[in-house]
Amino acid sequence: MTTEHDTHPSPAQYWKIAALLAVLTVFEVAMFYIDRELGLGGLNALILISLALLKFVIVVGWYMHLRFENAIPSRFFTAGAILAVGLYLVVLSAMGVVVIRG
């Protein structure tokens, strides 16, 4: 019924993905020090959050095999993630931490 086992990545791919994750982590740490020197502010936050998001998606998609999974769990999982980010952003903005400027 499921085609799960046919499409799993091979060990070589797993290693490549790990290498990619490692590179992204190096970038993250580098950004931290670059920002310390240059004071990029919002841009730094944007880059770091994008990098984290990318790592997140890679681990979920390939290591957790969500890419190859039936639609049901991926919907639940995505719903949980989006709901959490959305709700807590609203809480933080209502409490004045996150300021949304139009």
């Binding site: 049901i72 639940f76 949980g80 809480v91 209502a94 409490m95 004045g96």
Partner: protein, 674 residues
């Protein structure tokens, strides 16, 4: 698989196997037995919560009364609300969900039978834990950093029953910092926070269980949009629990850490922000409101079509409206905080969002009315409760819209107007719905029908009592009577209506007493229900009453929504339902097959471990409260060891013992039964 041969006899203990006797209840993994236990426990707490409410009403029946001390009054309103929300309506809904969802989707059990038992035991121990505060809990005078007195819990003041004050007294919403370490010292609020943590854990586990059950265990042909509305609402509730319980878990952990380990999450003096508690609490608390009402809406959506002899009007609209209510329910929490100083933008946004909830709710109400319209209505007791539900819930819903108007809400906040509103939706709504369900599904439990005459007396007492109690609270509130305050002055002129309210509360209590008598009486003397006492529509009525242990002798195959109805009825040329000539024969055959399974049925084997694991958790939670003492630490350690042992035992034993020779297994059961 020849796994049997290589595996040693599962565990050190012999697996429990009896299916009767009290021991079978402790080790059962049968969703029906678990549902029944949830039901009785919930009803027990309903009585306790009701007695607490009566004490509040006696206190308020006269101005400046001194029936209770201030501290006892605080404790009573806190425990009344906590009990009714977490220990009555939630487990009562869980009882219906446990008993009915597998039957309604044509399954023999839930996806994880032992986890189901674990949920039940954690809930039950959580309830015991919370109520043991009356024995072990303490409230001592506040030790505010500036010497500011907090609540009067320990001081008492004039009045009696002050011993009751040694229990949680910070409100069911546990607002901080009032319920924090400085203003509510003593262990009572720790019992509250940790008790709710346990109950929440139970709900989370059963939410996972029910979601998997509904998505993976449906009988052949039972597509998602053929499921009874009750199953749909149960699923929606499971999702609400899934996403809201973790929020309150974190918030309660923070409270516990503030109280036990000196963190500063909600302590303003140390930089903590009490508003954070309000956000987290209501982020959970508002979905919780729908967790309380949606199962009742599901029950009503089952009862109305049966007694109107018509299909539910707009099935898919009702289903989607339920899902929409749940979804919107996550986006409106701050309407509980309009007077807490949130920004005007937030007030406007949350006010508008709240009003949008009226749309799906309105859809449901019109669908229910549409179901009854032109139907052949039979005013049986379940139907009376269902119709009562619609009327009372509509009133509660309308007063709810008035809170969505922010300036109006400022006037209503913390007055009896709010108390009136919430009881119209939770009592007039949820509780009436649950009673409709109890009368409707009683035959499934017992094979008898509850006495109709007593049922009608029960309904009218509750209906009249309910309105006598809660309708006057609207105007009491608008006249400025504040809630959660133990006294009012005679000059306020509030006394006459308060007397009426108290009389109403006792009428409700009489109604509940009639119900209890009816429940007990009908078991012995009730009319035999047969297989299909109500001319029902859904497949839980295609099996004999009381439900056999294996549910379905033959796994059902479903071809339509309201499958059972279509087995019995055809349509004539004008679209009217006409009972098939052989309908009675079909029913007789179902009865016969249902009692005589053609081949042996293997059910999940009972297990000790859910009970043991929950007991270990209970010990640990007691230990946390007294963690500064040596024996408290010992309790944590013992509890951890017990739980861990249970986890190991659980992991080793299979869900279902292998049955190489069915005959042998059966004789074993018989022996154990003796």
């Amino acid at each position: 698989m020849t796994a049997t041969a290589e595996r040693p006899r599962t565990t050190i203990f012999k697996r429990p196997s009896s299916t009767t006797g009290w021991w079978s209840w402790l080790t059962t993994v049968d969703h029906k037995k678990i549902g029944i236990m949830y039901g009785y426990a919930a009803f027990f707490f309903f009585i306790i919560g009701g007695l607490e409410a009566l004490m509040l009403r006696i206190q308020l029946a006269s101005a400046n009364a001194e029936f209770l001390t201030a501290g006892a009054y605080n404790a009573m309103f806190t425990m009344h609300a906590t009990t009714m929300v977490f220990l009555f309506i939630m487990p009562a809904s869980a009882a219906f969900m446990n008993y009915l969802i597998p039957l309604m989707i044509g399954a023999r059990d839930v996806a994880f039978p032992r986890l189901n038992a674990l949920s039940w035991w954690i809930f039950f121990f959580g309830g015991i834990f919370l109520y043991s505060t009356f024995i072990f809990g303490t409230s001592v005078p506040p030790i505010g950093p500036d010497g500011i007195a907090g609540n009067l819990a320990a001081g008492g003041g004039p009045g009696s029953f002050n011993w009751l004050a040694d229990s949680p007294d910070g409100g069911w919403f546990g607002y901080q910092p009032n319920a924090g370490p400085f203003y509510s010292p003593g262990t009572a609020m720790d019992y509250w926070a940790l008790g709710l943590q346990l109950i929440g854990l139970a709900s989370l586990v059963s939410a996972v269980n029910f979601i998997v059950t509904v998505f993976n265990m449906r009988a052949k042909g039972m597509r998602l949009l053929r499921m009874p509305v009750f199953v749909w609402m149960g699923t929606v509730v499971a999702f609400l629990l899934l996403f809201s319980i973790p929020i309150i878990a974190v918030a309660l952990f923070m409270v516990t850490f503030d109280r036990q380990f000196g963190t500063l999450f909600f302590a303003p003096v140390g930089g903590g922000d009490p508003i954070l508690w309000q956000h987290l609490f209501w982020l959970f608390g508002h979905p919780e409101v729908y967790i309380l009402i949606l199962p009742a809406m599901g029950i009503v959506s089952e009862v109305l079509p049966v007694f109107s002899k018509k299909p539910l009007f707009g099935y898919s609209a009702v289903v989607f409206a339920g899902a929409a209510i749940a979804f919107l329910g996550f986006g409106v929490w701050a309407h509980h905080m309009f007077s807490s100083g949130i920004t005007p933008v937030a007030q406007a946004a949350f006010g508008l969002a709240t009003m949008t909830i009226a749309i799906p709710t309105g859809i449901k109400i019109f669908n229910w009315l549409g179901t009854m319209w032109g139907g052949r209505i039979r005013m049986t007791t379940p139907m009376l409760f269902a119709v009562g539900f619609i009327a009372m819930f509509t009133i509660g819903g309308l007063s709810g819209v008035t809170h969505a108007v922010v300036p109006s809400d400022w006037q209503q906040t913390d007055t009896y107007y709010i108390v009136a509103h919430l009881h119209y939706v939770l009592f007039g709504g949820s509780v009436f719905g649950l009673f409709a369900g109890l009368y409707y599904w009683y035959p499934k439990l017992t094979g008898k029908i509850m006495n109709e005459r007593l049922g009608k007396i029960n309904f009218w007492l509750m209906f009249i009592g309910f309105n006598t109690t809660f309708a006057p609270m609207h105007w009491l509130g608008l006249q400025g009577m504040v809630r959660r305050t133990w006294k009012y002055a005679p000059e306020t002129g509030l006394e006459p209506w308060n007397v009426v309210v108290t009389i109403g509360a006792f009428i409700i209590a009489t109604g509940v007493a009639v119900f209890m008598y009816n429940w007990y009486h009908s078991r012995r003397h009730g009319e035999d229900s047969g297989l299909d006492p109500w001319d029902a529509r859904t497949i839980e009525w295609t099996i004999p009453n009381p439900t056999p242990e294996y549910n379905f002798a033959v796994s059902p195959v479903v071809s339509k929504l309201d499958h059972f109805w279509h087995l019995k009825y055809d349509q004539d040329d004008e679209g009217r339902a006409v009972r098939k000539e052989d309908a009675d024969q079909i029913i007789a055959e179902l009865q016969h097959v249902g009692l005589n399974p053609p081949e042996p049925i293997h059910l999940p084997t009972p297990s000790y471990f859910p009970l043991i694991m929950a007991a270990g958790l209970l010990l640990m939670f007691y230990g946390i409260i007294y963690h500064t003492t040596a024996w408290g630490k010992a309790l944590i350690a013992i509890g951890a060891v017990v739980s861990l042992a249970a986890v190991i035992g659980w992991a080793i034993e299979p869900v279902e013992e292998p049955h190489d020779k069915p005959g042998e297994e059966r004789s074993e059961k018989v022996q154990a039964g003796v």
